[in-house]
């Protein structure tokens, strides 16, 4: 543990000082060591749960404890503890819950991916769990780098349009011939050679959030003040419609060219929420939703894959839909798995999540539901909700609009992604291919979400460092 630095007096120091002695200047209302100590405490619990999960998987699926994959538990623990130390150095006042939650979700994800590996007989470099651990290392390294490089989030404001440009480039990358890869119908991957595939769209969502935040803060006045009143609402001028039309076109092109409904929904939802936050105009949201729904309805009529998704969603158990090529087989198998889990689950390593196609990525939530039951899923959803709530806190407590918008945007993107993918698996909405943040196997998703965690940590640190009278 770090010794208290001299420049930052603590309340304990002050309280223990004998009466009459010259009081130390108390510069801060919040006590950084307390926050970091709480974080460490929670982190150790998270690491303990992660290690226990790997052991339970081994006991359940292998029948004995095996040391070869202790690496999985220990590796991740070392990484997140490194990040904790970095936080003690460069972001002492950062939110103490974000890192433990991310670590726990990441660890449970690795345990479940490892469990699927055992069922599939994968080991060594074939093992998704080993690759996921390596990706976690890379992702956490990126997160640490973000914390070290970005000491003040306002720096990002300067790069608003650069971020926008990067987002568009990243989105277009998979369409570049020779670079793009098509996986299960969606063209959202890039690859070099036969391996190292990457989903640039995951990173693009961060760049988009930065761009939207910067752009909206600059232009909110013209977007919110001007316009004609109609039906009790102020609608924007035609020339101010530019940005929403651009983002709409972008989302539609993702649907059409990359065949990825989920990502399009994610980007557009993010934009709408940030637009609403910045302008306070419900008319924008209505306009945007009309545009998107209109586009989606047209797409479902004209694009076969979108139409299929809707049929699978509405009529999953119909034998014809179930048996069709690209039908609801996967969805229904996921439901069977969830049903098998029931209230308390089969126990880690004791279900049959491997029956469902892609149980370690798109369907990891069904796998977890099977083995941890409804109780486990509620716990996981509560973790996500808490993570998002910590992000929203930045929005509520922050006092610069760019930071507020960015914080809420980044946490909302996590919430929306959870909703789209878990809602797809549990038939709230049509199934679309997105990764479950932190849990699902996939490097790009891990990197993106850890960077989001790092940005939220940075934002929450700045928030508490700002002098203020009342919090």
């Amino acid at each position: 543990m770090m010794p208290p630095s001299n420049s930052r007096g603590t309340a304990t120091d002050a309280a223990q000082r004998p009466q009459g002695a010259k009081p130390v200047r108390v510069r801060r209302l919040h006590l950084p060591q307390k926050l970091r100590n709480l974080e460490l405490f929670l982190l150790l619990i998270a690491c303990g749960i992660n290690a226990a999960a790997v052991v339970l998987v081994q006991l359940g699926a292998l029948g004995h404890v095996d040391t070869t994959l202790v690496l999985l538990g220990a590796g991740l623990s070392v990484l997140v503890l490194c990040m904790h130390v970095v936080l003690r150095l460069v972001a002492r006042d950062a939110d103490p819950f974000i890192l433990p939650i991310a670590s726990l979700l990441n660890g449970i994800g690795i345990a479940m991916i490892y469990r699927i590996d055992i069922a599939n007989g994968d080991a060594g470099w074939d093992s998704s769990a080993v690759r996921q651990t390596v990706w976690s290392a890379l992702a956490i390294a990126c997160a640490i780098a973000v914390l070290l490089i970005i000491r003040n989030h306002r720096v990002l404001f300067r790069y608003t349009y650069v971020a926008g440009f990067i987002a568009v480039v990243l989105l277009l990358l998979p369409l570049v011939p020779g670079l793009g890869r098509e996986v299960s119908g969606a063209r959202v991957w890039i690859g070099i050679g036969s391996f190292a595939t990457f989903q640039p769209g995951e990173i693009a969502k961060i760049a988009l959030a930065v761009f939207f935040a910067g752009y909206l803060v600059r232009n909110r006045d013209s977007l919110s003040m001007v316009g004609k009143r109609f039906l009790g609402m102020r609608f924007p001028r035609l020339r101010d419609l530019g940005p929403i039309l651009v983002v709409w076109a972008l989302s539609m092109s993702v649907i059409i060219f990359q065949r990825d409904l989920g990502t399009a929904l994610l980007y557009f939802g993010l934009f709408l929420v940030m637009l609403y936050l910045a302008t306070g105009r419900l008319s924008w949201v209505l306009l945007g939703m009309t545009l998107f729904l209109g586009g989606a309805v047209i797409a479902s009529q004209t694009l076969e894959y979108v139409n299929g998704r809707f049929t699978n969603w509405l009529d999953a158990l119909n034998p014809d839909v179930y048996g069709a090529n690209g039908g609801s087989y996967q969805l229904v198998q996921g439901l069977f798995g969830l049903a098998k889990g029931g209230l308390i689950g089969t126990g880690l390593g004791q279900g049959r999540p491997d029956i469902t196609p892609v149980p370690q990525s798109d369907y990891i939530i069904a796998s977890l539901g099977e083995e941890l039951g409804l109780a486990g899923l509620f716990a996981i959803l509560a973790l996500y909700l808490l993570f998002v709530a910590r992000g929203f806190r930045i929005g509520f407590a922050g006092n610069d609009d760019f930071g507020k918008l960015l914080g809420v945007g980044l946490s909302f993107v996590v919430a929306l992604q959870c909703f789209i993918v878990i809602g797809g698996v549990t038939r709230v909405i049509p199934l679309t291919g997105l990764t479950t943040p932190f849990l699902a196997a996939g490097g790009s998703s891990l990197v993106a979400n850890w960077v989001i965690a790092a940005l939220l940590l940075r934002l929450s640190d700045t928030l508490r460092n700002q002098p203020r009278l009342v919090i």
Partner: protein, 483 residues
Amino acid sequence: MNRELKRVSIVVMLMFVALLTSTTIIQVFQADSLTADARNTRTLYDGYSVERGAILVAGNPIAQSMPVADDYKFQRTYSNGPLYAPITGFMPINGSPTGLEHALNGELSGTSNAQFFDKINSLITGQNAKGASVEVTIDPALQQAAWDALGDLTGSVVVTEPKTGRILAMVSKPGYDPNLLTVHDNQKVTDSYESLVSDTSNPLIDRAINALNPPGSVFKLVVVTAALESGKFTPESTFPNPGTFQLPGSSSIVINSGGGTCGGGDTVTIATALRLSCNIPMAELGLQLGDKAIRDTAEKFGFNTDYSIPLNVSQSAYPLELDDAQLALSAFGQTSVRATPLQMAMVSATIANGGVEMAPNLIDQILAPNLSPLQSFEPRTLKRVMSAETAATITQMMVNGVQDGAASNARIDGVNVAGKTGTAENAADDPYTLWFTGFAPAEDPKYAISVLVEDGGGLGQTGYGNLLAAPIAKQVLEAVLNK
């Protein structure tokens, strides 16, 4: 901005509430129907991956799960498969189980309510749950004797214990090997199943409890019971004894088997008619009794009723509506009267047990994996079908039938066998169905038996009950009585 933020927070909350609701609906409210879905392979694998309990005969497994290294973890194997197939049934990987594998699936797979605490226990200790074993009432020596006695004939032998209703032997031929249907290869299972289904001798049918044939003369036991119980008739009641009998309201004619009158004379008694198995006096008796009296007695014996042993037994039938011609025919087990071999064994067993019918039962006890009994099956009285006097009277008539009558081929030296044969007509040119039912020893009945030979025993319309069915009963009873 905070006002908007609050609203967005509410939207996020609603999104998560939707997820909590949807997962709850799936994992709690729809869980049962999803688990029961035929396409749910998890349910199927679960049925295999628990170490399913064994089915035991006299302590030896006739069906058991052997560990194997594949997805199913256990291979169900049947020792002496064809012999016990009507009892065990089989448990295929791609279809529904049959026989006891189906009827006691909950117990065998460890999911019945009686095993609830075992399940909790295995959840806590982390040990794999095991199913309970089922001990059946079958006597292996009798089962084997019945199997051997039936030879290559198509049919069935059922032996029960009259005092308890325990089923001691239950054979159905032609048999099949259930092991062919439990291999862990979908295609092979389907092929074996298809060839069994397309086999015209229907080997998959358990004839002991599911084959419905006209009972013919063995049904006369029911009609005589109805006559004696009515109080209007005694064994010495007489009927006209013509050589032919015209059915009322019909041009059809009934004759006695073998032609001629029934033992000579102008009149004939019920006792003689039963001993010699004559049709004309029975038709006359039936017309006098009326269909209601016969139906009531038949239903007391168990006709027109479902029961489970716990295999489901097909309903033996006495028709609900009859004209006079059909009534006369029904009195000797023709027209649309139908019976299973088990039902006829129950008729004999009831007479043997002084008129009290015991519930037929195939299960002795259910044993937990640690062999402690979970459930025992005590003999259960169904009802009194007839008075003890009537039972004694009919017993005497049946003994006479074996000693000096139409069932003479069931005679065993040194043992009084009570018996009744039957030779039932099917459609005009079809082979006869041959029957024997009875019990022994007559003074202290230990075994009630019924033998069914379908397809005329290969002799078309020239075979008869005493020629083919009675010797089978004799051979089976000798195997256990002459020890």
